[in-house]
Every structure is written in C-alpha cells, then in structure tokens.
Amino acid sequence: MCLAVPMKVEQVEGSPDDFTSEQLATVNMDGISRKVRLDVVDRWPEVGDYVIVHAGFAIHSLVEEEAKRNIELIRELASHMPEEMLQGGDGS
C-alpha cells in the first residue's frame, strides 16, 4: 500500500555516496517521528524537505515549493469556475 502523504525531514544521517554508513532520515508525520532509509531516494533531502515513504524507504524527496506548484496546476484547471467558489471556505 502506498503511503501518499509526504513526511517532513527532521534529521539526516549519512551521505548520498557513502553506502558503508547508514543512510537515514528522521521524519515526522502528525507529530510522530520515525526513521526511514535513504538508500533509494531520488534526491538527497535537506532538513525541512519532505519525503514520500514506501515500506520504510524514502523513494522521493520534494520541497514545499514543488507541492505548491502542483496544487496551482489543479487550481488552474478549475479556474474558469466563479472565483467565489474557489476561494470560499478555508478547508486547510
């Protein structure tokens, strides 16, 4: 089962090219911290970035801005709808 929610990186151990040491990140989701492996992550994350995690391995890292750009794309799709429909209610 894919866990779709990105987790925030709090700490990074190891380095991307050194496979002899542990490659780990401490991540946080909804206040719960856990360690995930960084062996197969596409881009080495910095503290404050987010990672998508599958079965204990981070498979992708993203920065907040990328997430924002994506929602903007969807907003554009819906943008021919009346403005008040899009901006009504703050569900976040």
Partner: protein, 362 residues
C-alpha cells in the same frame, strides 16, 4: 503539511467534480492499476458521481492479488520447512493457498513474522542466527528498490542467514499483455502514482503510440483523482491521447535513477506467472547470479509447481478488468474478508475487499 489538506479542500473539489460532468463527451472506459488508487477512488466517493459514459475498472494493481496460487503454495510449504523463519508484508498472511494460508502455517508452529520494511528482516536474521530468514518478495517497482537495498545491506553487514524469495513483478509488461486482449476494451489508463515515481512517466509513452491509449499519472488525493479523470476524458474527447503527468510533485518524466540503478544491480528480468494473466515474458525480477547467496530459490532449490486457482474464484478475471466482484458467485457469501477464498478479498488493496468494504454490490 498544509498542501495535503488543500487537495481535499471542498472549495477545490466541488468545481472539479462539476467540471468532470462536462468533460466526458465520448465514452471513457479507464483502468487503474494501483491498489492504492483502487482504495482512494472508493474512499473519495468519486464512483458515486461518475458521469454517464465514464467507467472505471481495476486492473492487476495489487501485488498480493497477482501473486500466483503456485507461488502462494511455495511460500506456505517454505514456512513449514525446518530451520526457516519467514519475514513477510502483512497482506500476505491470510492469502489462501491450496491447503491453508501462512496464518494457518503459523498456527501450527511455523515461524512467520510480519515486518513493516524488508530491513526489519535483517534485524530478525541477526537475532536468530540459527534460522535462515527468508523475506517473501512480493511487490512492484515501488517495493523492489528497497528489497535491492536490503540485499546490498545484508552483503555489507555479512548477514549470511538472510535471503529473498523474489516474485517481484513489473507493471509495463503486464499492461502490454492486457492491452493486447481484444475483450478488455479500455481507452484510458490512470497510471499508478508511486510505481511511476520509480519508472517515470515516460514508461507509458509506448502505450500511447502502440494502442492510442490516453494516459494520466495521478496522485491519490481527491483533487488529484478528479483532475486525472477530467484530463483523461478531455484526451479522449479531443482524440489526442498522450502521457499527462499531473503528479509532478512526486513523479518525473525519467523516474528515480538511483532506485532503478540499485534494482538493476541486484535483479534481472525473468518470465513470471501472474494470477489471472498467466506467464508473462520479462515481467518478473530474479536475483542476479552474483547475489545468489541471497536468492532463496537458489539456496533451497525451490521448485514452484503449477496449481489450479481456487474453485469458483473469479480473482483472475477481476484482475484483468473482465468482470467485477459482485458478479463472482462467491462474493459476499462464501468469500468475505473474514473468510476469504481469493487474494482480492484478503489484501487491504484488493478489488473485492474494496467492493465489500464500501458496500458496492454492482
């Protein structure tokens, strides 16, 4: 993270849902091939607002479900072998084989441990030096990089009582076989979110070229899903199939090179059997010769023998999108989540489990 809530925001969902009704101008029969999409679509309630002319079928997107009955039997007989301790993902535990499940084996004393990550199996191996710990490798492209990393870690840490029984599979080869089936009749594909994070959106271009298939790579939130359906309907309406990646926050065109390189280091393509689809050339991954010490099939000379599917079970047809669970004579009567006959009712992302959980009776 704020943006996750934004993808569930009613102020965005409502106009998208309204747009979906307008977007369908020609019949859209789309397949999703990701167990997480199966569940997300049910959970979001999108099925209840699908416009006339749009149909969603589930394909072979649940790894446990496509694991053949023959492999299940091989897993269960391994559990009973002396000196063996199995490490598995939880979904596999209750899948019936010809004669009971891993859960049954466990209840008669077999050592079967459910792990969250394949790396946990290495800890188990360290704690039980007298057992051979075998990780049952079931999964698609999203899972395999982690398994490859685990094998490399085992080698580095010189853990020699650990190996993997690989029945890993890759999606594009299976999709190709499905699309050649004249009975299937799909014209659109909701491409799997996290498989695509590994293999890249480019992997679907051949299906556009070869089968004129509309393809959208989408995430799992309601706004992602609605956006995906709208884009597929538009592609079909305009008769301009393409690969549209609307999940760029996670999926790139070229995929995750680091993960792909690690998989390629440890695994090579092989023919493998899928439940319902039969043997598909090049659709499986076996452990390369140079890592043979970590290959359970080599170490224990495992022979996988063909066995028939459970009698009356339509999992095979359901996995091909040829029928839906309520049309199976066993669904909801002989076969329920509490007492499953086929894997599609066991797995948390199986199509039958989804229909049952969300009360869809057809």
């Amino acid at each position: 993270m704020k943006h996750v809530d934004e993808y569930r925001d009613r102020a965005l969902i409502e106009p998208l849902a309204a747009e979906l009704q307008r977007a369908v101008s020609k019949p859209v029969r789309l397949m999703e091939i990701c167990g997480t999409h199966t569940m997300a679509i049910f959970r979001s309630g999108i099925r209840s607002i699908l416009p006339a002319g749009m149909e969603i079928v589930s394909g072979p997107g649940c790894p446990v479900c496509v694991t053949s009955a023959a492999h299940m039997d091989a897993f269960i007989s391994l559990a009973d072998a002396p000196g063996v301790r199995l490490a598995i993902f939880g979904d596999l535990f209750r899948v019936p084989g010809s004669n009971g499940s891993l859960a049954h084996a466990s209840s008669r004393g077999a050592k079967v441990e459910i792990v969250y990550s394949s790396m946990d199996a290495l800890d188990i191996a360290s704690r039980h030096p007298d057992d051979l710990v075998i990780f049952l490798g079931v999964g698609f492209e999203t899972t395999t990089p982690g398994i490859a990393a685990t094998i490399l870690a085992a080698q580095r840490q010189k853990i020699d009582n650990f190996c993997v029984f690989s029945t890993h599979k890759v999606i594009p080869e299976a999709l190709d076989v499905l699309l050649q089936d004249p009975e299937l009749q799909i014209n659109a594909l909701l491409c799997p979110g996290h498989v695509s994070a590994i293999i890249g959106a480019a992997a679907y271009q051949p299906f556009v070229d070869r089968y004129h298939l509309a393809c959208v790579v989408a995430g799992f939130e309601p706004a992602d899903l609605l956006n995906g359906l709208i884009r597929l309907a538009r592609q079909i309406g305009e008769d301009r199939p393409t690969v549209d990646n609307i999940y760029p926050r996670v999926v790139s065109w070229e995929g995750n090179h680091r993960a792909l390189a690690m998989v390629d280091e440890v695994f090579e393509a092989t023919d493998t059997q899928w439940r319902g689809l039969g043997v598909i050339p090049g659709s499986g991954l076996k452990i390369r010769e140079r890592y043979r010490d970590f290959d359970a099939e080599q170490r224990l000379a495992i022979v996988v023998t063909d066995v028939p599917e459970p009698k009356g079970c339509l999992c095979g047809q359901i996995l091909k999108g040829q029928t839906i669970p309520p049309r199976c004579p066993l669904f909801g009567s002989r076969c329920t989540p509490a007492s499953p006959v086929g894997p599609c009712m066991v797995s948390s992302e199986g199509t039958c489990a989804a229909y049952y959980k969300y009360g869809e009776t057809g």
